[in-house]
């Protein structure tokens, strides 16, 4: 069928900030959708609150709105733009929920906007457990026994029928938030109540446990002619009981016979038809009883998903892209397969390799949370690897994770191992390998883990080879043995560890045997047709299909799995590097292992190597391709750590030299450099013992900022106020030794912090943006809201920062991007950190200024000069742009929500307006923290903050808020004539403040930390605030911003403006 000509303008909704359960896979899908729809001749209007996405690049849509994803703001956009249709299936659950809300409000009907890609009915059936169950019953498919409850009494009745263990799933929450498994009545009560609370519909599903069953997913597509195809089948290594986002998964299905697989495929086809997904992709999950093959349907998502991103990367079939084409009426047989060019997209990809995905968790960031896995997703990212065998892909995926852990370095008794196998946890695979090395049988391992014996047998084969090689001299390993180890997926480094040699010795040995990997293509068709797309993976076989070109080419190293502190922002930079270099005529070659990203779309670069970002794997690519240069400064820490080793191996690193990058990271040398330049820095020192640390603290004075020297990204960094805490930190948290010194800085209390992004060509420097942190010093810059332009920094300090930034860029001979962090205290500007590389704020600044900094930087790195681009010394910003972080606390019950020097946020949003208050209010709204317009504000601040809280309290009072406070704060405020009521602290009597929060009587909390004594009180407050979604501000500057925001909200403005509009005004 031809594409529709009755619609011209399509609104696409993105998925908002990166959160656990909804990550950059939706940037990938949204970007594809926008590209395709425009290529088909439609006008695209995009809305997304996340500035760090490729999809919000102004070039990708006709009109780009970075606005809150709320029904009110999207309605305002609809009124402004008058789109004909709305595509809600590429923006995750967020977009689907928003579409439902807009439909329920009557907005879509009133404005004549047609939903394409999914109908409200299908969204409901897909999401409403009861409707879904009924729909499955009607088509003769089984679902686990279950019931839906709207209150606890109903819940208790249902669990009597379902039995224990029972699974509790709240409806309409992301990534299964608030779900869990109850093994007894006590746990059940806790989980059921929390689930009822968390579900926007106050609805939970209580379900028969199919824990331990095999788990499968099918990615299915359907078009308007009712053609249905299965794009990819996925089998979970971890059986039912672990959220699929937290499971190791494998494509294609490994352990089903054709009869079982076809039964599942038939079921999937019936489901997509029954649910009524007319066009597009759906993800359907099944559980299979390993004893008799009984199949039950678990759930279906009538939209593209994390799994469909994985499936697209796993097969080379771009699901989101095709889904967008189907949404406008094209049919599968009309769309050509990108890779073969000659065959249509109406087929089922077949693959001749094995794909393994392993999630990456961040439990180290939340030490109070138990590192256990269940039905609620907790991972923050994932890696994918491709190999010709399961073993090879598994080991490649493991080394892509960058966890650096090795099997066998632990000392564990059998009981401990058993426990680690029985209870799903992030390291279960590691323990499994360990257990197999110790001689455990497949049967026993299956008893503990319920993992399919086929997978266990595969893991056992890896362990057996490890055990066989361990302690052998490298020279004694025969060439066939070495070949076998490499074919199995062992890295040089792992072999070195097994044989007590070095990776470079293993490498040399391999070179002498000419044992090198070849590259094979991902082509959707197992080589049945010629492939025109160089999407490659390495393996140890005979024939190489890389076929490198003779063009001028640059290799870009990506950023690997998403994690807290290294996320989508870096993928954005890598993609931009690729786009700009392509425009400049280079062949671009991307190396990355994160299946969620735009960078691993085979469309993004000329060539894609889906490979781990280790020295060995990158060197192999470089040796095969012989590029003119390699870019390491855009992918965050992962490629940076490779900079010096690559350079030593003779690889040309373009842009700022690895020596400069290293210098900026070496605190001693860098400190000397700053001193020589006359630039102030906080006093600091390095200690290798507690005594030394105490002496340094004595010299520079408390409070101090301490951190281990061997971790990056704010890991284990804390602020310490006294000797006692310092001792505890060292003895309990990190330890200290000659090899593992700790770094100590004077902590500049109450300082303002400022981030500066700049680009330089070695001669000239252009300042991209000067951003003022809204939260005060001591909170990781990634966790702090910030505003561009600054609104409270004195002009002379701005001038000082400009001067320092320029001088530092020239001194470090920066070619490309640079980020400097400053602190201003008592009219002194201190340099906290210089990072001569892409920073987290590059996409934000690019969106705010309309100048794509990463593209500019990469052009400078290939030798072009700033003067070509006609930029001023500092990019102008005309409106207020606020960036706010988004936190995963909801996923980690019991974890304290206080912010500190260790980054904890997973994503960010941007709020834009012509005044700071409104921009801040929009950012907060986008971050999911709804500022109240009126109501009761609870204020409790520490002694230092007491004098400064007055103007904020007064302002809140003037805005109509009723103020309540505990003890000292109340006295302070009352003493200044502000009307404030008293409330009990938790241990003083009832109802106390937490009771009030829980009963919905508090709308805003301003609570700055009071120190150890009231620690538990505060924790309870913050915990309750998170659960009841009451904004909880822990700093005064945050409080002031909130007051401005509320003031703006009260004016009830829904100003929406397209990015294209902002930047047109700049010209």
């Amino acid at each position: 069928m031809p594409k529709r000509s009755d619609i011209k303008k399509i609104l696409v909704i993105g998925s908002g900030p990166i959160v656990i359960g909804q990550a950059c896979e939706f940037d990938y899908s949204g970007t594809q959708a926008c590209k395709v729809l425009r290529a088909e001749g439609y006008q695209v209007v995009l809305v997304n609150s996340n500035p760090a996405t490729i999809m919000t690049d102004p070039e990708l849509a006709d009109r780009t709105y970075i606005e809150p994803l709320t029904p009110e703001f999207v309605e305002a956009i609809i009124l402004e733009e008058r789109p004909d249709a709305l595509l809600p299936t590429v923006g995750g659950q967020t977009a689907l929920n928003l579409a439902v809300a807009l439909s329920e409000k009557g907005v879509l009907d009133r404005q004549g906007v047609e939903l394409i890609g999914a109908q409200i009915k299908s969204i409901r059936v897909g999401e409403d457990r009861l409707l879904f169950k009924e729909a499955m019953r009607e088509i003769g498919l089984e679902t686990p026994r279950s019931g839906v409850a709207y209150d606890f009494k109903e819940a208790r009745q249902i669990v009597r029928e379902v039995g224990y263990p029972a699974i509790i799933r709240p409806s309409f929450t992301l990534g299964g938030t608030g779900g869990g498994i109850a093994y007894n009545a006590e746990e059940f009560e806790q989980l059921a109540k929390r689930g009822l609370d968390l579900s926007p519909a106050h609805e939970i599903l209580i379900e028969e446990s199919v824990i331990g069953w095999k788990e499968f997913e099918l990615e299915v597509m359907r078009d308007l002619k009712d053609n249905v195809v299965v794009i990819c089948s996925i089998e979970n290594f971890d059986p039912m009981g672990v959220h699929t986002g937290d499971s190791i998964t494998v494509a294609p299905v490994q352990t089903l016979t054709d009869k079982e697989y076809q039964f599942m495929r038939n079921a999937a086809m019936r489901i997509i038809r029954k649910v009524g997904v007319e066009t597009g992709g759906s993800n359907i999950q099944f559980a299979v009883n390993p004893r008799d093959g009984r199949l039950v349907v678990i759930e279906m998502n009538p939209r593209v998903s994390r799994s469909s991103a994985l499936a697209s990367k796993a097969t080379g079939f771009p699901i989101a892209k095709i889904a967008a084409k189907l949404a406008v009426g094209l049919t599968l047989d009309e769309i050509p397969n990108d890779i073969t060019l000659k065959t249509p997209a109406c087929f089922e990809p077949t693959i001749d390799y094995v794909v393994t995905k392993i999630p990456k968790w961040a439990f180290e960031k939340f030490p109070e949370a138990e590192p256990l896995l269940g039905t609620q997703m907790k991972s923050v990212g994932e890696v994918m690897a491709i190999g010709r065998t399961f073993k090879e892909s598994l080991l490649k995926a493991l080394r892509s994770l960058e966890t650096g852990r090795k099997v066998g370095s632990q000392k564990l008794d059998p009981e401990q191992i058993r426990e680690k196998l029985v209870v799903p946890n992030p390291d279960r695979l590691l323990y499994l390998r360990f257990a197999f090395e110790r001689g455990i049988s497949v049967e026993e391992a299956h008893q503990y883990t319920r993992i399919d014996p086929w997978f266990l047998q595969q893991v056992r084969e890896v362990s057996q080879l490890s055990a066989g090689l361990r302690g052998t001299d490298l020279g004694e390993i025969s060439p066939p043995q070495l070949r076998q180890a490499k074919r199995l997926g062992f890295s040089d480094q792992y072999l070195a560890w097994l044989t007590d040699s070095t990776a470079s010795e293993v490498h040399q040995r391999r070179q002498s045997l000419e044992l090198r990997p070849v590259y094979k293509r991902v082509d959707t068709c197992a080589a049945e047709f010629e492939s025109f797309t160089p999407y490659l993976y390495s393996t140890y076989e005979q024939q190489c299909e890389a076929e490198p070109s003779e063009r001028r080419k640059i290799v870009i190293l990506g950023s690997g799995p998403n994690r807290i502190g290294q996320g989508i922002e870096f993928d954005y930079c890598c993609c931009h590097a690729s786009f700009a270099l392509k425009e400049d005529g280079f062949e671009t070659i991307m190396v990355n292992c994160n299946p969620e990203t735009v960078s691993t779309d085979y469309d993004t670069s000329d060539r894609l190597y889906f490979e781990p970002l280790t020295l060995e794997d990158v060197m192999h690519v470089v040796e095969r391709e012989q590029p003119e240069g390699v870019i390491v400064q855009f992918g965050g820490q992962t490629p940076l750590t490779l900079a010096l080793p690559l350079q030593r191996a003779g690889v040309p690193i373009i842009g700022t030299s690895p020596e400069s990058i290293d210098l900026a990271e070496d605190r001693k040398r860098f400190g000397r450099l700053l001193t020589g330049m006359g630039i102030p820095q906080p006093p600091s020192g390095t200690a290798t013992s507690f005594a030394e640390a105490a002496a340094i603290a004595e010299r520079i004075g408390y409070p101090i900022l301490v951190r281990p020297s061997y971790v990056l990204g704010g890991r284990a960094m804390v602020i310490v106020h006294d000797n006692q805490s310092l001792e505890r930190y060292i003895s309990e948290a990190v330890g200290v030794s000659q090899d593992r010194p700790i770094l100590i800085d004077k902590f500049l209390e109450d300082a303002f912090e400022v981030d500066v992004d700049a680009v330089a060509d070695g001669r000239r420097v252009v300042i991209g943006g000067i951003m003022e942190h809204i939260e005060e010093a001591g909170i990781h810059s990634g966790d702090s809201s910030c505003v561009l332009p600054t609104y409270m920094v004195k002009p002379e300090h701005l001038e000082t920062m400009r001067d320092y930034t320029r001088r530092l860029a020239l001194e470090l001979r920066v070619v490309g991007l640079m980020n400097v962090q400053y602190a201003i205290k008592e009219d002194v500007v201190y340099v906290l950190e210089v990072n001569p590389r892409a920073s987290r704020t590059v996409p934000f600044v690019s969106k705010a200024t309309g100048v794509p900094l990463a593209k500019l930087a990469v052009r400078l790195m290939t030798g072009r000069k700033l003067e070509e681009f006609g930029l001023e010394d500092e990019l102008p910003v005309n409106d207020f742009f606020v960036k706010s972080p988004v936190f995963p606390f909801l996923k980690f019950p019991g974890v304290d929500t206080i912010l500190g020097p260790e980054m904890k946020s997973t994503g960010e949003v941007m709020g834009v307006s012509d005044n700071f208050g409104q921009a801040y209010a929009k950012a907060q709204l986008s971050a999911g923290s709804v500022l109240p317009r009126s109501g009761t504000a609870f204020i409790s601040v520490n002694d230092q903050d007491k004098p400064n809280v007055l103007p904020i309290a007064r302002r809140l009072h003037d805005l109509g808020f009723r103020l309540i406070a505990t003890g000292g704060t109340r006295e302070t405020l009352a003493g200044q004539g502000i009307r404030v009521e008293s409330v009990y602290k938790v241990n003083e009597g009832r109802p106390h403040v937490v009771d009030l929060i829980k009963s919905g009587q508090v709308d805003l909390i301003l609570n700055t930390p009071l120190g150890k004594d009231s620690f538990f009180d505060e924790r309870a407050i913050r915990r309750a605030a998170v659960q009841h979604n009451v904004p909880c501000i822990t700093t005064l500057s945050g409080g002031a911003a909130v007051a401005s925001g509320i003031s703006a909200l009260q004016q009830n403005r829904r100003d929406v403006r397209a990015l294209q509009e902002y930047h047109r005004n700049d010209e």
């Binding site: 003769g140 089984e142 016979t257 077949t350 010629e530 076989e541």
Partner: protein, 389 residues
Amino acid sequence: MEAVLALEDGVVFEGRSIGARGETFGEVVFNTSLTGYQEILTDPSYAGQIVVLTYPLIGNYGVNSEDEESRRPFAEGLVVREATDSGDHWRLDSTLPDYLETHGIVAIDQIDTRALVRHIRRQGAMRAAIASGEVDRKLLVERVRQTPEMVGRDLASRVSCRQAYRWGKPSVDIFASQASRHSSKADGAEPPIRLVALDFGIKHNILRLMVDSGFEVTVVPARTGAAQILAMDPDGVFLSNGPGDPEPVAYAIRTARELIGKKPILGICLGHQILGLAVGGRTYKLKFGHHGGNHPVMRMQTGQVEITAQNHGFAVDISSLPESVEVTHVNLNDQTLEGFRHRHAPLFCVQYHPESSPGPHDSRYLFEEFKQVIRQHQGQGGSSFVWQD
């Protein structure tokens, strides 16, 4: 033990011997299905061929008695990247390597099967041998070159049954506990339709699905003539799948020609090619054939696409078809003929495998359609046939 795969053009791959020891010869072809290695091995259409499976891990779920597509494996040999030890699948009877050994199938693994597939894609299907142990490679290649080519060989009579037999087994419900299977099972109320199936290498799943649809099936040897069949007075005649080149199966082409218009006829795969020749079309050898479970076929009547299972090295030339037939199905990958029907006689046939074991079940409506055609034919009392679309 080591083994080699030697191709007629002199290319030799080294690997590891799995299954039976010794040597085997045949035409090497690749199959792109992700599942169903046991069904593939036991498909008689693979007689004379060594099968390369493109999916690298083969053996994961072992073998079982229900997935046999004929009385024994017919493939001459098997080439895979890695033969894996099976886990403990609930349907498992034996491991794949044991099964291969029991049935004397010579096989090889640890081969760069993708390199092999690309070679075949470029050079075309070719003769080959697998040999285990110490091998004189040059001599082996020489011997490969002396084996007969596929073109011109009648393999159907080699794999066909020797005597007629009744087939009464329906599909196996592997999930016996599951209530929701097989809505199309014969309910006993309708009288059975008597079918004669000409066996050129028939797959059991065709027979099972025929029974499921309410047919009473008698399987007869490939050389059974039209007169004999008419003497049995069946309600319909089925021409089965089978190995190799249709042209040398001249006796069957003659039989088919004599039956057209007299009895409703359905043909699958080789049966389709025989009917193509019987109506006056031409057949030719494809470069490397269609073997897999993901081939898109458009059903011309509806414009819808079926994902089909395929296994053929020869095809009917779409441009050679006479006016008397119309094209019903076309392969979207290469626009080759996938099905046609006679304009005035109750005859239709498809090149692909609607019984699809292994493969998708998208095309199983054809068995019901055949039943309807027969009923309609019966209703019209043998007068000129008009399709009711």
